[in-house]
Amino acid sequence: MSAPSGITRVTLLKDLRLEWRSKDAVNSMLFFSLLVVVVFSFSFDPSAEESRQIAGGLIWVAFLFAAVVALNQTWAREIRNQVLDAYRVSPAPANSLFTAKVVGNFIFVSVLEALMTPLFVVFYRLRSLGPVWQLALVAALGTWALVVNGTFFAAMSLRTRSREIMLPLLLFPISIPALLAMVQATTAILNGEGARFWMALLASYDLVFTTVCLLLFETVLNAE
């Protein structure tokens, strides 16, 4: 049996290949967050100063909604033809699958963010007063927080009726602290203030939830 990390790698590559062929998740995410951006900019017509204050919230709400689209897609792919059962009867460890899915979603959502951020900058005339690398760090930590819980809850909602509705119902309440931290950190950095506390909070949130999700995933995967 190959090492768990090897299985994670091949599963991740398989997911990337499937996504490359269908582009279901990335396309729908992109279009969806584009819609959110446009709708938001109709709703508010902010000056450069105001937009610095609200941009953090807007960006993350857009990404959160878009991430839900991607998260529902990842497991939908495994449910079609019940491919997940083929994984479950194999000796491959459940956590390799989970890790691969989390990393895959992290890549998808990061790609989305990289593509959408310029749009936000243009539409809202954004200019950061703080260092941009800090924004990137907040984005990475925040995205991880969303996808690690999101992947877990999406797997959980597989076992429920009307799973597509279930995911946001489970994900949003538990993500509130992370979301608050992302929004506050982003706003603080955009305005040239320090965001050390929020980054530390996000990092520890990531750490705790990654650990617990890894501990519980096998149980959830094999619940029937």
Partner: protein, 230 residues
């Protein structure tokens, strides 16, 4: 056991009446807020009771994950349900109190906000229990309960920091509290906890009974395949 339930019921009723008397008559009227402050004796004990129930929910969920014991699952379910009810009471009495005192119905005050988030988390727990069908429900619910409980410290920290950045009217916490007020508060908490325990107990019996009925039906379909369409 069967006799204990009505006895406890009567005791709780007496305790509740006594607590009401304590809160409305014995405790002195607060000087700045006036009589409306007396809602404090319902607001705070409800909150404590809700937190206690959520804590029990967490404990029994962990126990369920380790031992897979059906009783622990029922306890977790019951505590979440009753906890959500008490949490709702907190969220309703909060604004009722805030309106005359602060002049606003709602403020994103730290305690109110974190209680709201807590309420959201446990409502989503109940949603999961409702939407998942079959034997996996306890397992999924227990996993969510653990994640939800772990989220609580993060909720508190984030909102605490969020609020200290943006000062808002905060409930007058500091200062010494009149011993009669403290007494009334503790009596009320005791009464509320007894009441919560009573509700949990009867809900527990109901849930157990309904599971026994399900099991009996399952037994029947086991013995008589024709009886499937019950």
């Amino acid at each position: 056991m069967k006799k204990a339930f009505p006895i406890l019921g009567v005791l709780t009723a007496i305790l509740l009446v006594y607590a009401l008397y304590q809160a409305l008559v014995v405790a002195p009227t607060e000087q700045t807020m006036g009589a409306v402050q007396r809602i404090f004796y319902y607001h705070v004990p409800s909150a404590w009771t809700a937190f206690l129930l959520f804590f029990i929910n967490f404990g029994s969920s962990v126990y369920y994950l380790i031992k897979r014991c059906a009783t622990a699952d029922i306890v977790a379910l019951v505590c979440a349900e009753v906890g959500v009810v008490f949490c709702t009471v907190v969220l309703i009495t909060g604004p009722i109190w805030a309106r005359p005192v602060w002049g606003i119905w709602w403020t994103w005050d730290m305690r109110l906000t974190s209680t709201l988030v807590l309420w959201l988390i446990y409502v989503s727990y109940l949603f999961l229990r409702r939407f998942s069908s079959g034997g996996q429900t306890p397992l999924l619910a227990a996993a969510l309960a653990v994640l939800g409980a772990l989220c609580v410290p993060f909720v508190y920290f984030s909102i605490w920091f969020f609020r200290t950045q943006h000062p808002q009217p905060v409930m007058g916490g500091g200062g010494s509290i009149d011993p009669r007020m403290m007494h009334a508060l503790l009596i009320n908490w005791l009464a509320f906890s007894c009441f919560a325990f009573l509700v949990c107990w009867s809900r527990y019996r109901l849930e157990k009974l309904s599971r026994e009925v399900d099991e009996a039906h399952a037994m029947q379909s086991l013995l008589d395949p024709g009886g499937r369409a019950l």
